[in-house]
């Protein structure tokens, strides 16, 4: 049985008794409680803050929402968890990144028993409605550590107006990107041809698509580091060369914030950046009309496109003393009804029914670029991969090693093959 099927099965089994009960779920069972929630600064969190009064009106539970920039969010969260603090009830988590470590530390409450309890879970919650690829990242050996709140991954954004003006065809393969960048560099001096994440820890998110599309893989079939495979070396070469030859000044210090600012301000012609930034990009003048968006073009030889696909989730702290109230929030926030409302905030729904529902459809129909973004997300959900590194529990470290390989090539300190070999050696040490 494939892992995905196993996960779907586990979730469906866990939720089955909930479906069996019909109607009559008491949303106000935890009335009068106050829960504390800690979120990363994200379009979803901002929308949640706006909608918190709706949650309180429905459940009688008061939600104290704290939002921090990601770095500060992690610093605060880990201190609270290490201190086994019961002050925190709910937190956002990127289980594909920190899941193994947090789970090993015992920081996640297991949601499976809550899902299975008909007195605690609304009968229409429908846990099986979440895309299996996204929910899969939240399940570890049948322990459900979080429920998904969005789906995201890097997409290829390009300035259609610049391409049209210069007579460059829309990139159909990955190899078309450097070719287009060369033309833009030669003929449009005021325009930066390319931008993508260059900060060591941030690189793998955007880079893994290059590896997969060029026929490589971050891991070999037997689970060893795979950066020295020919396709992976080609990916290091292409990603580094794009940053070095066609990227903005200081590209190695850039993460999504800088890339999106450049794209929004109209200073860059192509980027490979998160689908999650879409709503923010659209707030900049003219970008809704002059941008194109789609999944990263496939490699010429491989014919496949397999970029990173991840989803944030919300988890309940194992140290919380208000887990039933916290679970009420999780249910409400990830219900079909709430997720349908979040669409207008540009949050890509992880629920299949919402993705195919009338609210999402009406919203995407308003602008051609929204439709293109939605189609790219469908493809991302279908083809994307949550694996950015060879198997290890030390995921952030492993990603840093991969990012370092790219940086070494950009800085001219190593050839792509040398950087790949060094990365493999380092990655093997932390497996």
């Amino acid at each position: 049985m494939k892992r995905r099927e196993l996960i779907g099965g586990a979730l469906s089994l866990a939720a089955a008794p909930a479906f069996a009960q019909s109607g009559g779920f008491d949303w106000r069972r935890q009335d009068g409680q106050t829960i504390t929630l800690m979120f990363n600064n994200h379009p979803w969190s901002q929308a949640m803050r706006e909608m918190a009064t709706e949650f309180t009106a429905r459940t009688g539970i008061r939600a104290r929402i704290e939002i921090f920039n990601e770095e500060q969010f992690r610093a605060r969260l880990t201190t609270f968890m290490q201190g086994r603090s019961a002050e925190l009830d709910v937190f956002m988590t990127l289980a594909s990144r920190e899941g193994p470590v947090f789970r090993k530390a015992g920081w996640y409450a297991d949601l499976a028993p809550l899902l299975a309890d008909p007195s605690l879970t609304a009968p229409d919650y429908d846990a099986a409605d979440f895309a299996a690829s996204i929910q899969g990242a939240n399940v570890f050996e049948r322990q459900v550590v979080a429920v998904p709140i969005n789906q995201e991954g890097p997409l290829f954004y390009w300035r259609r107006d610049v391409f049209e003006r210069l007579g460059i065809p829309e990139p159909r393969t990955l190899e078309d990107i450097p070719a287009a960048a060369a033309v833009i560099k030669a003929r449009e001096p005021g325009m930066i041809p390319w931008a993508a994440r260059g900060l060591r820890t941030a690189i793998p998110y955007a880079f893994v698509g290059f590896v997969n599309n060029l026929g490589g893989s971050v891991a070999t079939p037997d689970g060893k580091p795979g950066m020295s495979q020919p396709g992976s070396v080609k990916a290091i070469e292409m990603y580094a060369s794009l940053l070095k030859e066609y990227g903005p000044p200081g590209a190695l210090n850039h993460t999504f914030t800088q890339v999106i600012e450049l794209l929004g301000a109209g200073r860059v012609a192509m980027v490979h950046e998160s689908s999650n930034e879409f709503a923010n990009i659209m707030r900049f003048p003219n970008r809704a009309n002059d941008l194109g968006v789609k999944i990263l073009p496939p490699g010429k030889e491989s014919g496949i496109s397999k970029p990173a696909a991840i989803g944030w989730g919300i988890a309940i702290s194992a140290h919380s003393r208000k887990q039933a109230a916290a679970w009420t929030f999780l249910q409400w926030a990830t219900s079909k009804e709430t997720q349908a409302k979040l669409v207008s905030a540009g949050v890509a729904p992880p629920r299949a029914s919402v993705f195919k529902g009338p609210a999402f459809d009406a919203w995407t129909a308003e602008l051609p670029i929204r439709r293109a973004w939605a189609e790219a997300l469908v493809q991302l959900g279908r083809e994307g991969s949550g694996v950015f590194q060879p198997p290890t529990d030390r995921i952030p470290e492993a990603r840093e090693k991969i990012g370092d390989a790219v940086q070494q090539v950009v800085l001219g300190r190593a050839t792509p093959a040398e950087a790949a070999r060094m990365a493999d050696e380092e990655l093997a040490k932390i497996q």
Binding site: N40, I65, T79, S85, E87, E261
Partner: protein
Amino acid sequence: MVGRRLGRAADAVALGAVLLVLVVPVAWVVLSAFKTRTEVAALPPRLFFTPTLENFVELFGRSDFLDYSWNSFVVAGGSTVLGLLLGVPAAFAMAWHRMTWPATATLFARMAPGTLFLLPWLVMFTAVGLTGTRTVLVLTHAVITLPVAIWVLLPYLEAVPRELVESAQIDGARAHQVLLRVVLPVIVPGVVVAAILAFVFSWNYFLFALVLSGVESKTAIVASFNFVGEGVTNWGALMAAAVVIAAPPLILTLLIQRRLVGGLAAGAVKG
């Protein structure tokens, strides 16, 4: 003559270079605070533009930054008062008895990385229900303000003639009376300097507030990071926040500039 001119030219170049390094980033921040979202990201940066207050409207109108600034004020003010309440008598005792090790011990506490304190504090203050309150920040920021108070006041106190204290003692004054009625009036300039330095350091301190504050007790410097997000950084609002955060320390420093230099140099030369 030529040598003197060359010397002056070299001074001017050196001064220009220092100003460039010090003034340009500050000017950049201040100008950006009055630019629109698109103008902030423009390259090359525009020196001439139509100023807007939209970033400040965002700051105070659409976020709770005024409340967070008030929290900063309460925390910095409270921890400064606490630092002085403990630091003045402590420094007096150290100066009188010529003990330097307690002062050194407070300095070690100040030099230790803040993360060292965080976890035990979190556990302790959570146990007594103080986590997330402004009280906890006032208490913890005393780790910053107390050493400042002691180290700034020591040279002032060492300069107080021992005969003055001894005369008061002969007249029957008790220790606290000596401190309050005899010594304190003499060292007021030092107390002012210590208070302002302690306030500025506490105002700018980030780490303790990041972990120990709550939704309502967040300080301005922690709240300013909320303009950096997954999505996009609101540079204009961030710059406006930086201007607001920098203003009180800057104003205070300008007000006591002369005393500050004198205070820091006090005791530098014995004689």
